[in-house]
Point group: C2
Chain length 464, copies 2
């Protein structure tokens, strides 16, 4: 790499800055919510948008592939003989938007405010997944080549746990063969402090439904003789966790690898400002399992959270009904070596041990599981990413985890035998999965430059 070509891609990025920002806004206007069937067409439209953008960037063999669910968009550029092959990963689907009334602007009408782009999917993951596409364009348009071989894998079902991706990946394993995966669905510690992501929590989900009488009943006429499934559900939920959040489901912690001293010391080096954290989320005090630091609790300890509950009357005023159904959606975040296929059974067994006269309870496993994931700190991809981050931020990156789940990491490892290196520019305060999600325009721009450098740095590695 000559200094001249370096300057050229920087100039290219600078010249196209406002065009690229405009394109991100265009991408964000597509309401590609993967969990809602009525938005399936929008997920497809977002995929088509990515297809067009990859074409324009100069990628080859650009296609949208059916998966049986939301599609995958792929492309490649394979002319760097003797250089590693990188699989670039990101997702173009988004979370739902409710509660809608808490958004300052409509979630799919992106708004620029204080150097941020506010929109559902801005940070997670449309803004981030667009970065490597623009970086590749800058390299291709200025030097006519990429320093590594690249395959793209952009999916439309990450937010629902990528249900069709394992089978899809298995079928297409040769087309996605690679030395490593670089994921744009990742983040940095702060605007000043880079980070290398070495692990994420796994995920599993269940829905508990409690049913009482055949229909809703009058609470005066029947109250006192017929069980109320909302009370039964509350009873069940209150037995799932201790008041500090410790999970009381028998066997839940059995496969958790205990924290070693070295690991706890590494985690203790991560600065954590409890007061600032409380102020950011708007709570008086933190919550969580006794005996663990907040960083340990979100990164290396499992959780069980009710994500939603409903039953009976939710309108204004009073309805004197004895309802006949109540529902709760639950997800668990898992850590090595918990098995996301085993945990729902443990929850089911726990519920079956409850005595709830007059109520039938069903525990249904919901789609969307992810195994907990861990990449060695010294993986070649991590070393390259660390070099680029050090250069970009002028600081040694922290070695971090995420409490979130990135199911594809484990899938890529299983099917392609490749580790996934996180290289994204989200920050934890960017309200992903919540109202007023945003992405920093500065991250969007810095990320493009960093991706150019990363591909060049990886091009200096010999193939495996």
């Amino acid at each position: 790499m000559s200094t001249r070509s370096c300057l050229e891609y920087l100039e290219y990025l600078e010249e196209h800055k406002s065009q690229f920002l405009g394109e991100m806004l265009e991408f964000l206007r597509i309401p590609s919510i993967s969990s809602l069937p009525e938005h399936a067409g929008d997920v497809n439209r977002a995929g088509e948008w990515v297809v067009r953008r990859l074409h324009a960037a100069g990628l080859e063999n650009v296609r949208m592939l059916p998966t049986g669910g939301h599609p995958v968009v792929t492309a490649d550029w394979l002319h760097a003989a003797g250089r590693p092959t990188i699989l670039l990963y990101g997702h173009f689907d988004t979370q739902p938007v409710d509660p809608l009334h808490l958004w300052t602007n409509p979630p799919f009408e992106p708004t620029l405010r204080d150097g941020h782009v506010y929109a559902r999917g801005a940070s997670d993951d449309k803004g981030n997944m667009l970065i490597p596409i623009l970086a590749m364009e800058a390299l291709l348009k200025t030097s006519g080549a990429l320093p590594v071989n690249v395959r793209c894998f952009f999916e439309g079902q990450e937010e629902i746990g990528s249900p069709q991706i394992p089978a899809f990946l298995d079928t297409h394993r040769d087309e996605f063969a690679c030395d490593m995966v670089i994921s744009a669905d990742s983040g940095q510690f702060s605007s000043e402090q880079p980070a290398l992501l070495v692990g994420c929590r796994g995920l599993c989900a269940v829905q508990i439904t409690a049913r009482g009488a055949r229909t809703d009943l009058h609470s005066g006429i029947y109250g006192g003789t017929v069980a109320n499934p909302i009370h039964a559900l509350a009873q069940i939920l209150s037995t799932l966790r201790d008041t500090d959040g410790k999970i009381l489901v028998a066997g839940f912690y059995d496969s958790v690898v205990p924290l070693g001293r070295e690991q706890r010391e590494q985690l203790a080096r991560i600065p954590f400002d409890e007061a600032a954290y409380c102020a950011q989320v708007g709570v008086d005090t933190l919550f969580g399992e006794a005996g663990y630091t907040p960083v340990e609790r979100v990164w290396v300890r499992p959780t069980l959270e009710v994500n939603g509950i409903w039953g009976g009357f939710q309108g204004e005023g009073v309805k004197t009904v004895l309802p006949n159904e109540a529902h709760a959606k639950i997800t668990c975040r898992l850590v090595p070596d918990q098995d996301p296929h085993r945990i729902p059974d443990l929850v089911r067994q726990h519920v079956e041990r409850q005595t709830l006269p007059g109520v039938h309870v069903e525990v249904r496993t919901l789609p969307g599981t992810a195994r907990p994931y861990r990449i060695p700190d010294d993986h070649p991809g991590n070393r390259a990413a660390a070099d680029v981050l050090r250069e970009t931020y002028g600081r040694e990156p922290f070695t971090v985890r995420t409490g979130g789940s990135i199911p594809v990491c484990e899938m890529f490892q299983n099917v392609l035998g490749a580790y996934t290196v996180g290289f994204g520019f989200a920050q934890d305060d960017e309200q992903f999965h919540a109202p007023d999600e945003f992405f920093r325009i500065s991250s969007f721009e810095r990320g493009q430059e960093a991706y150019c450098r990363l591909l060049q740095r990886l091009g200096m590695e010999a193939t495996a």
Copy 2:
């Protein structure tokens, strides 16, 4: 009363049978749901319908009166000098209709099936409140007079606890002066077995709201450090009642008058077929407080029921959100001498004693309270009603209560100094407050004849 005039009103009722049924269907088509602000106009339309029907029946001074909330329709006929004055009571508002998908027919498109009229409000209370109007018409059109003085009080806010009625009644106390109230918002034990209603439970309502962070958060990024208000709410709800429904709120039972032996014997005479009851509501087993029979539990023991709960994600699939709000609506059914204004404070104090780090909980009293009510078994109105019921059904009526609440009973007693005699034809299986509410056409017709007889029988009493 001559046998001849008796035959005449019977003939009149017989001749107008299909017209009257048609009118009930017309009345039921008005979606007069009092709890939903968007239906306020419909409640008004139902009142106007009642005004027209009272005019047609021959009542005088028919008017719809403003209350500050849903209106009251009044009318009178005061030409029976030396005879008692009866205040006829009923309500033309209805409960909401959700869950709508469980209705066989749309709730406001009345449908005739197997001798029943299916519609929201058919039994509670439009079908029942129409009965005395039609009975008065039959008497007026055939004999030109009523055997007693009558005032009408038909309201549009019973299903929300009649919030404006106490102040309204206080202002209009002279216009509604009476010797007793006869309420058409009442029922019989079965199609074969009449009943005299001598008491009903009181009511109070609260809403519990638990709040955590400022916004919904990502359950991966924050799960383990930020409290989940749904878990907090479930924890609270699970402490409100024992697993058998016994209420654990300190002081809740303090004012409950203990059941005497005589009272328990009277209640034990009421036949109760547990298997049939279970089959009717669709449960395997009954539920409720140890040490009390099912009849005692619904009629003379207080209850606390969650009528609705909601928070977080309720859509299809999975949303990995750590929600920031959760809500529950609760009503308590009360028995003598519990105070509906005191119970919400006890619930609030109970909740305030919980330790819930990171969660703020608010207990808000909802409008709509009713004191528990008791009329002496041998009240003159009860004696007259018993005579008519004995004649109509050929059986001695049971002395019963209802587990429901009729707030106006206590209001009429307080403001007008008059007891309320229940004289209605609903039956407990008629799904009021639930999907597929219905009213028996046979009850509608039998009720008209019985009301004619009741007014004649009351005309034989001297004024107080």
